[in-house]
């Protein structure tokens, strides 16, 4: 009996790691597509804008996917999304780095005065730039070793930054759009659900803790 369950467990591990490799490959598709289009003259009349938009879109998408792991565990009891979360979070950072590099190199070509002016004066960049900067410590502390060094509690509170980053990222998108806000609204709606879930959970936990107890029996 014990042998059977051991085998089932290894089987499950095998599927999980294979799934992880598949997710890794899938997460590379947006970049592969950009490169392919770039090599085949397929990025349209304004390739720099296209690259900036695409990498920004996927940064936000991976951020939101990362934030679904906890609700999925709580609601459906799934643990596997948590195990892929680090990789997906690193993909968010990866696409954010491409997004920022595109702005720095292709769009502004290291025009530092213009960049400083942008960060100071353009609200969507004022909010987008710190969001990118905040992603850096999260990426740096993503290894197991770093979790140990920081200690679980401190690591967890540092990684709470992801909520601020998610909000800043969606606001960044919302504020840069000229008129048609349908895409930023979709991101905002998903983000609101994901963050709302956490707020509700925190409130429920607090409520449970504060429940008055009489003679060892909860009063409800």
């Amino acid at each position: 009996m014990a042998g059977m369950s051991q085998r089932a467990k290894t089987n499950k591990e095998k599927w999980l790691s294979m799934g992880k490799s598949l997710v890794f490959l899938a997460a590379m598709i947006p970049l592969a597509k950009l490169i392919w289009l770039g090599l085949h003259n397929g990025l349209g009349a304004n390739p720099i804008e296209k690259i900036t938009r695409t990498t920004g879109y996927w940064t936000l998408t991976f951020l939101l996917i990362t934030l679904t792991a906890t609700p999925l565990r709580a609601l459906l009891g799934w643990n596997w999304p948590i195990r892929w979360r680090r990789m997906l979070g690193l993909f968010a950072f990866f696409y954010a780095s491409l997004h920022f590099s595109t702005y720095l190199v292709l769009d502004q070509f290291f025009d530092w005065p213009a960049i400083v002016k942008d960060i100071a004066k353009r609200p969507y960049i004022t909010v987008g730039f710190p969001a990118f900067v905040m992603l850096i410590p999260l990426a740096v502390t993503s290894t197991n070793k770093m979790v140990q060094r920081l200690g679980g509690k401190r690591w967890k509170s540092l990684h709470g930054l992801i909520y601020a980053i998610g909000i800043a990222g969606v606001v960044h998108f919302w504020w840069l759009v000229k008129r048609d806000i349908s895409e930023p609204v979709q991101f905002a709606a998903v983000l609101a659900v994901l963050l709302g879930f956490r707020v509700v959970q925190a409130m429920r936990r607090k409520y449970r803790r504060n429940k008055p107890v009489l003679n060892g029996v909860e009063i409800s």
């Binding site: 349209g44 009349a45 304004n46 720099i48 804008e49 292709l106 070509f109 213009a114 002016k117 942008d118 004066k121 353009r122 609200p123 969507y124 504020w175 840069l176 000229k178 008129r179 048609d180 349908s182």
Partner: protein
Amino acid sequence: MSNWKMSKVLPSEITPREVYQRRREFMLIAASAALAAAMPGGLFAGEKLPNLVKSAYGLPDKLTPVGDVTRYNNFYEFGTDKESPAQNAGSLKTRPWTVAVEGEVRNPKVWDIDSLMKLVPLEERVYRLRCVEAWSMVIPWVGFPLAELIKRAEPNGNAKFVEFVTLNDPGQMPGVKSSALDWPYREGLRMDEAMHPLALLTFGLYGEVLPNQNGAPVRIVVPWKYGYKSAKSIVGIRFVEQMPLTSWVKAGPGEYGFYANVNPAVDHPRWSQAKERRIGDFFKRPTLPFNGYAEQVAQLYTGMDLQKFF
């Protein structure tokens, strides 16, 4: 009596059987040929515009490739992505088409597009186009000065502004079902701006009839102003006393002005206007005051605070 004689029918006079059997088809072709002769013109996107007059409005700048001019468009009536107009504008029917010239004029008239095109000889003009989003193109337009039409309409003393109204038909324009802007699209010019020789009533580009996504069958091009001033697929030209409330001013009065003169010194609140990316270039280039047409148009704005009237 009987000198009545059956005339001999020559073999050549006999209608061949296959032609006789296709007589309906033949009549259809003949009828459509007659119809076409009765309705000359009727030019559609991609057709060559005949008898273009060479004009003095050239530019040393390299032309933007026609593929970029026709596949990277802001024309929200066909969707808000740059690629959407080229994909969706096939549903626009450019014939029959009329342009109502009305309002404070002595000669109001509903122009048929084909007679409007023949009002004066068409000429080719190479203009810079600067979008408010900080990209630019160089386009050989085909048209004639808007002033030619205005002169014939004979505006009266109350006419201070001209308003341009774009077609608003959800059947042909999928984008107007969304609330991206308040439809119909409206733009406008002050009378002296509209009368300026640079303001072009435009029917074509690259020597051919305007593609639908570029504002067929008729648009205006005002090269010293941001692109959104150049209304597309126009069905109405109204002469009015009050400054019209234009679509983009209505959408964001703090961001889009009525004048919208290209001005590197006045930033859009959310992005810089100091530089622009010419489509096809890697490096940005500095934006020129009035998009490089300051010599011709700056005097229209003497004494005006361009920071305030952006």
